[in-house]
């Protein structure tokens, strides 16, 4: 190693402070440049890697009429399409752990998911090319049944959610039963999905507040069988091989998207045709069934009719029989009557015969009795005579016995008289008896003949009577059976009649039903025919329409923009630091340079020493800076973004191009500055170089002309003042460095203010309500609304009714489109109590009146409209495209607003613009601190027509998340600022001290105390810090403005004011840094030996 080289090497090792100053500045400049420049590409790279690893769809095809396998197959057939995953999607307001969220449900191919593997938490490997948008299972397990679901691992939940919790579906965009097979899902696990890159903005929905809270994966089986595929996720051949979102990637995707767009009319035609065909088939089936049923019914009725007719005929028959039976009966009755009368006459004859007979018998008997009597009288006379005789005989005897012969003789005489008298009597009597007997005999036979005659008549009569009785019995039986037959007939008839009327009723009913069915079928047919007229749009959406991916991409783009500006300052300061440092070095080595020259070294050779020094110093710095910061910054920024984005933060490769350009710039600047510093000295002749350089002459400065001020200044101040302007390079280095430091600090703090203001101003000043109750505009009647009014206003809370609609606004020139919420106040004054409408600058209050719409500031600036201009509002469809006719609204005022875009109108303005009255179905209310939110929600949600109850706290939460990102950015900025301040101030102070060692030593000899010496030197540093910081505050305002406008997202306006406190803090921190440097350098000041003052210059 030559002596010269050794000298070069030693010049480095013997002046680490100087070397470090250059190296650190080069490190900062190059590192920040490289780091920031690589952040954007690294983010995109990480995105690309993540998207490739999870097979994020390159294209998404959405059909407003849904899709079936037929269309999916058509998609598969498109050239360049690699994988196709048809999928279901539906939004639903859901309840989870007691809190309501608006969630988007996606179908998950559970089999494919189970078959996939993910070892590194990022790459999901699967053999199934059609398994697109692969979620990464972070916790739990894949769903085992159709009522299990997977939630986002990102913590968007207001209350803690665990595996096993239940997600309950409350309300969907359409009937939930038509979409899902279940109403509750059990949380089976947590996933990360590249389809949702951005965690703070999941998307828009027509439900609830219009913003999705998160997403849910459910098995395909959880969707109803009739629910068609809503979309298909496609991957494009070779797109994974290209880096998203480079143009090569986009070209590949665009080519396929173009083909898909070309295909889309056929897709929709096929879908319409299919829907019609399916519906027609179904309808035809229905019609056939109807016809069959109708025929059946008719046949049944005809059968019934036939039966009825049969019955009727039978009845008629029965009626005839009955009437013949009646005739028979009446004839038999007549016969019976005749028989009766004959019998009666026979009986009468018989009775008269009997009477005659009895009379005859009477006569005969009386004749016989008379004869008998005569006979008996004769008998009696005889018997009496006999008895008298027997008495006389007994007296004769007696008389004989008593020998009374006279008496006996008289008695004999009397006996003999008696005998004489009685002599013929026994015969006569016998004759009489015989005659009587004959007579009796005759009479008896005569009577018995008559009796016999009578008896035969009687038996004849009895016969007739018996016959008559049986006839009568027969008749009665006949009568009875007739009656029975009649009754049967009657009931049969009634039955038949009721059957008939029933049948008639049925027939009429059936006719009605048939007519109804016919009409329904006709309606159905009309509906089928109308399918052709339905919106059958097919949308082909690439990743730029994926909210998360696009916002990630644009944030990466923002990093590019910031990278283009920020490092400039570091480079500028690096250049100045190198310049001053190397100038000082060259000056210090003046004599050495002279010596080299005297020894015959060429200018180039001598310059090379300094250039080598500069190259080594800046090269080492650049290498270290690039190596560290190009790793750290992208990592750090992505880490910060990971609060918002689910893209895994990956080790980031050093981009050689950027690294080379950063190093080139850093080293180049330093070398240029060095050459500039060395060139002037090298031009001097060796002789003059050998002499000490005349100290830079003191000069009067402008300030001295202000006598009153100058004369009041102490010497230290005068020296300080003069010194400031004596070394212009150092002055600028210090000013720019310190200004940069302050500006960085102010930018960081301002950024924090800006985002804090979003919350503080929007929810503290603009909004004075914290609760939004939305009702279903179509369903909620006035009664329901009144009930809600009562509930909301129960504790005397104020509230305002408004109507809200999502619209798309177009600028008057028809250029850009922006989403906004059109809020129509039922009572403008009431609304203004809740929404502070004022101009941001000046704070002039605005009045919502019929003069037009009051729109939010950012919307106005995006659309480029001012008060008096007209903007056009359109409806939006599900995809966010504008549809229908525009409605012109005049801008009546532009108000301060930070979150989302609004246009506020009065009911009159609304009606004029929209051509229909507004439907006030949303309530803004300010719930007191003490009100139990959950109970309030529950109470309201149980009421008719209430769809959602949302609280601003939830929105505030998502902005707090954003703020965390900013916090870490602020940390980076503060650290960068501190480094900048340290390097610059250290360098400045170091140069000042070494250069003025003599002066300082002299002051010490003169008896200046340490404190006075410190003040003498550091006053300059502090003054420079103050000036630099003051300039930095101004610079910071611009820088913060740049960062804010670059970083601002579409729907949000960041706060525009940097708080006074931030200015104060930025300034104070700069002073603290400067103070720290001063403290650190005090030792060096102390170490300066007074003996120094005795030495000659050099």
């Amino acid at each position: 190693m030559g002596a010269f080289r050794k000298e070069v090497l030693r010049s480095i090792t013997h002046s680490w402070g100087r070397f470090l100053a250059i190296a650190v500045m080069a490190a900062l400049g190059c590192g920040f440049y490289a780091g920031l420049r690589m952040t954007g590409p690294d983010m995109r790279l990480a995105g690309d890697e993540y998207y490739d690893a999870t097979e994020l769809c390159d294209l998404r095809v959405v059909s407003s009429l849904g899709m079936s396998d037929e269309q999916v197959d058509m998609l598969r057939g498109v050239e360049g399409v690699s994988g196709v995953m048809p999928a279901y999607e539906a939004d639903a307001v859901s309840q989870l752990a007691g809190v309501q969220y608006t969630l988007r449900y996606h179908s998950l191919d559970v089999d494919a998911a189970k078959a996939s593997s993910c070892d590194d938490g990022m790459h999901v490997r699967s053999d199934d090319d059609d398994y697109v948008n692969r979620p990464i299972l972070v916790e739990g397990s894949w769903p085992e049944s159709d009522d299990e679901c997977l939630l986002s691992v990102d913590n968007v939940w207001t209350s803690p959610v665990h595996i096993g919790d239940t997600v309950e579906l409350l309300e969907g965009t359409q009937d939930l039963d038509g979409v899902f097979t279940t109403r509750t899902f059990t949380v089976a696990g947590f996933v990360r999905s590249s389809y949702y890159t951005c965690t703070t903005n999941t998307g828009a929905t027509s439900l609830g507040s219009g913003e999705l809270s998160s997403f849910v994966f459910v098995p395909e089986g959880a969707f109803a069988a009739d629910y068609p595929y809503t979309e298909a996720f496609l991957t494009v051949d070779g797109a994974a091989g290209e880096a998203w979102p480079d143009s090569a990637y986009q070209e590949r995707v665009d080519a396929v998207a173009q083909r898909l767009n070309d295909l889309s009319p056929r897709l929709s035609a096929s879908r319409v045709e299919q829907l019609q065909r399916d519906a027609q088939a179904e309808l035809d089936d229905k019609r056939a069934e109807f016809e069959r049923e109708k025929a059946d019914a008719v046949a049944q009725m005809d059968d019934a009719q036939a039966q009825l007719d049969d019955a009727s005929a039978q009845l008629d028959n029965a009626a005839a029989q009955l009437s013949s039976a009646a005739a028979q009966l009446s004839s038999s009755q007549a016969q019976l009557a005749q028989g009766e009368s004959e019998l009666a006459s026979g009986r009468a004859q018989h009775d008269s015969g009997t009477a005659q007979l009895a009379e005859q018998r009477e006569q005969a008997q009386s004749a016989i009795a008379q004869a008998q009597a005569e006979l008996d009288a004769a008998q009696a006379e005889y018997d009496q005579a006999m008895a008298q005789r027997s008495l006389l005989e007994a007296q004769l005897e007696q008389a004989r016995a008593a020998q009374l012969a006279d008496v006996a003789a008289r008695l004999e005489a009397a006996i003999a008289q008696i005998d004489a008298q009685t002599a013929g009597a026994p015969d006569q009597l016998a004759a009489g008896r015989a005659e009587l007997d004959a007579q009796r005999e005759q009479a008896a036979s005569q009577l018995s003949a008559a009796q016999a005659q009578l008896d035969s008549a009687q038996s004849q009569l009895d016969d007739a009577a018996a016959r008559l009785a049986s006839g009568r019995a027969q008749y009665a039986a006949g009568q009875q059976s007739y009656e029975q037959g009649r009754a049967e007939y009657e009931s049969g008839l009634a039955e038949q009649r009721s059957g008939q009327s029933e049948l008639d009723g049925k027939r009429a009913e059936a006719q009605q039903r048939f007519a109804d069915a016919e009409r329904q079928l006709a309606d159905a047919q009309a509906e089928i025919d109308a399918i052709a007229d339905k919106d059958a749009s097919v949308y082909v959406l690439d990743r730029s329409k994926n909210l998360g991916a696009e916002s990630f991409r644009s944030d990466a783009g923002r990093m590019d923009q910031i990278a283009a500006v920020f490092p400039l300052m570091f480079f500028l300061v690096a250049a100045l630091v190198s310049l001053t440092t190397m100038t000082r070095m060259v000056e210090e080595e003046r004599v050495l340079i002279g010596t080299y020259k005297a020894l015959g070294y060429s200018n180039a050779r001598i310059t090379s020493k300094y250039l080598i020094y500069a190259v080594v110093a800046s090269g080492v710095g650049a290498a270290v800076g690039i190596a560290l910061l190009s790793q750290f910054l992208p990592w750090f920024i992505m880490n910060a973004y990971s609060i918002m984005y689910m893209v895994p933060c990956m080790p980031t490769p050093v981009n050689p191009g950027v690294a080379a350009s950063a190093a080139g710039l850093g080293v180049g600047i330093t070398v240029a500055a060095t050459w500039f510093a060395a060139a002037a000295t090298l031009r001097e002749r060796p002789a003059s170089l050998m002499l000490p350089r005349a100290p830079k002459a003191g000069k009067r400065i402008l300030l001295e002309r202000i006598r009153p001020l100058w004369s009041r200044m102490t010497f230290s101040w005068k020296v300080t003042a003069r010194n400031l302007f004596r070394y212009k390079r150092r002055f600028f280095m210090a000013i720019i460095g310190i200004a940069g430091c302050t500006a960085l600090l102010l930018t960081g703090l301002g950024l924090q203010n800006a985002i804090n203001d979003i919350i503080d101003k929007q929810y503290g000043e603009v909004y004075s309500f914290n609760t939004i109750v939305r009702m279903d505009a179509d369903e909620a009647g006035q009664e329901a609304k009144d009930a809600v009014s009562d509930a909301v206003g129960s504790d005397g809370q104020e509230f305002a009714w408004v109507s809200t609609e999502n619209k798309i606004a177009c600028a008057p020139d028809g250029g850009s489109e922006h989403r906004l919420e059109l809020v129509c106040a039922q009572d403008a004054q009431q609304l203004q109590r809740f929404v502070q409408m004022r101009e941001r600058v000046g704070g002039r209050p605005l009045t919502l009146d019929d003069g037009g719409a009051i729109i939010s500031e950012k919307l106005a600036s995006q659309l480029g409209v001012s008060v008096g201009d007209t903007l056009t509002l359109y409806d939006e469809d599900d995809i966010g495209n504008l549809v229908g006719d525009g409605h012109a609204v005049t801008v009546g005022g532009i108000m301060e607003n930070y979150v989302a875009q609004y246009a506020y109108v009065t009911a009159d303005v609304y009606e004029q613009a929209m051509g229909k009255p507004a439907d006030f179905a949303t309530v803004y209310a300010d719930l007191g601190e003490g009100v139990d939110r959950t109970a309030f929600s529950d109470q309201l949600l149980s009421m008719d027509g209430v769809k959602t109850v949302t609280y601003s706290d939830e929105t505030i939460g998502s902005y707090r998340t954003m703020l965390k990102t900013v916090d870490s950015v602020v940390v980076v900025l503060v650290v960068a600022a501190a480094l900048l301040a340290f390097v610059v101030l250290y360098n400045l102070t170091n140069i000042n001290i070494t250069e003025r060692a003599r002066e300082i030593a002299t002051l010490k000899v003169l008896g200046f105390t340490s404190r006075e010496v410190d003040a003498y030197i550091f006053r300059e540093t502090i003054l420079l810090s103050v000036i630099g910081a003051a300039i930095g505050l101004v610079l910071g305002v611009f820088m913060e403005g740049f960062v804010i406008t670059t970083a601002e997202v579409d729907q949000v306006m960041f706060g525009r004011d940097i708080h006074a406190a931030s200015f104060a803090i930025a300034f104070a921190l700069t002073m603290v840094f400067s103070g720290i440097v001063a403290l650190a350098m005090r030792g060096k000041l102390r170490r300066i030996d007074m003996v120094e003052s005795l030495k000659s210059n050099e």
């Binding site: 002459a697 020296v719 003599r998 002066e999 010490k1004 003169l1006 006075e1012």
Partner: protein, 233 residues
């Protein structure tokens, strides 16, 4: 007791392992109002003597007293006060603050003293009333040294310490400066200690101290001090 007394003063520097005695038992004294010239070759210990006397360095052993105060026992703070109030220093290379005018350079010193002399007057005394508003760079070497002397005087010190005040000046100017110093001593009665390698200067001294190899070789009173204006070397 003498105004200035050095009593067996030693100053030992440690250079690694080796100890070098820059002052190896110096003993001398001088009275107030004297024009003292310390003479010696390079490396004899003149500057060490000056440093210790000027309160810029302390001795390793021995005692140094000035006006009855033992400065060899002073603390750092006391030494600062000592330099501030009692000592006026004139450097070989003037050590003016480049960014201050002649007047301001003088005021730089006077502002830190409780009883300073008027800066403009002192400058007039040294003959620079017409250059008061000039910066050092605009002045000649002699003029700069005059400013330096004025700066030392303006503090109204007890002792004026001059380290080779003519070293960077041409002969003529050097002589004028010597004259100025001598006159100052004579007219104001200030004690002046002048350090030089030029033994010719001994002629104008009231007291001559020869220093050699860290010791005082001789210390004697010049019975007939010459006038600086007449000095030749």
């Amino acid at each position: 007791m003498a105004f200035v007394e050095f009593n067996d003063v030693r100053k030992v520097y440690k250079m690694g392992e080796v100890e070098v005695a820059a002052a190896d038992g110096m003993t001398f004294s001088a009275e107030a109002g004297e024009f003292v010239v310390v003479v010696g070759p390079s490396g004899a210990g003149k500057t060490t003597l000056l440093n210790m006397l000027g309160g810029m360095d302390s001795c390793t052993s021995g005692t140094i007293t000035l006006d009855g105060r033992e400065i060899s026992r002073f603390t750092e703070r006391q030494l600062t006060q000592y330099r501030r109030l009692d000592i006026g220093f004139v450097f070989q290379f003037y050590n003016l603050v480049q960014n201050l005018t002649a007047l301001e350079n003088v005021e730089l010193a006077s502002q830190i003293c409780p009883h300073p002399l008027d800066a403009a007057q002192v400058l007039a005394q040294v003959g620079l009333s017409h250059r008061m508003d000039n910066f050092p760079a605009q002045l000649s070497g002699g003029e700069q040294q005059r400013v330096a002397i004025a700066r030392a005087l303006a503090k109204n010190p007890k002792l004026l310490l001059c380290d080779e005040p003519t070293g960077a000046l041409d002969y003529k100017t050097g002589k004028a400066i010597l004259k100025l110093l001598q006159d100052t001593c004579r007219t104001t009665g200030k004690t002046v200690v002048l350090i030089t390698h030029n033994s010719a200067f001994a002629d104008i001294a009231d007291r001559v101290i020869h220093v050699r190899e860290g010791r005082v070789a001789s210390c004697y009173i010049n019975p007939h001090p010459g006038n600086a204006a007449d000095l030749e070397w």
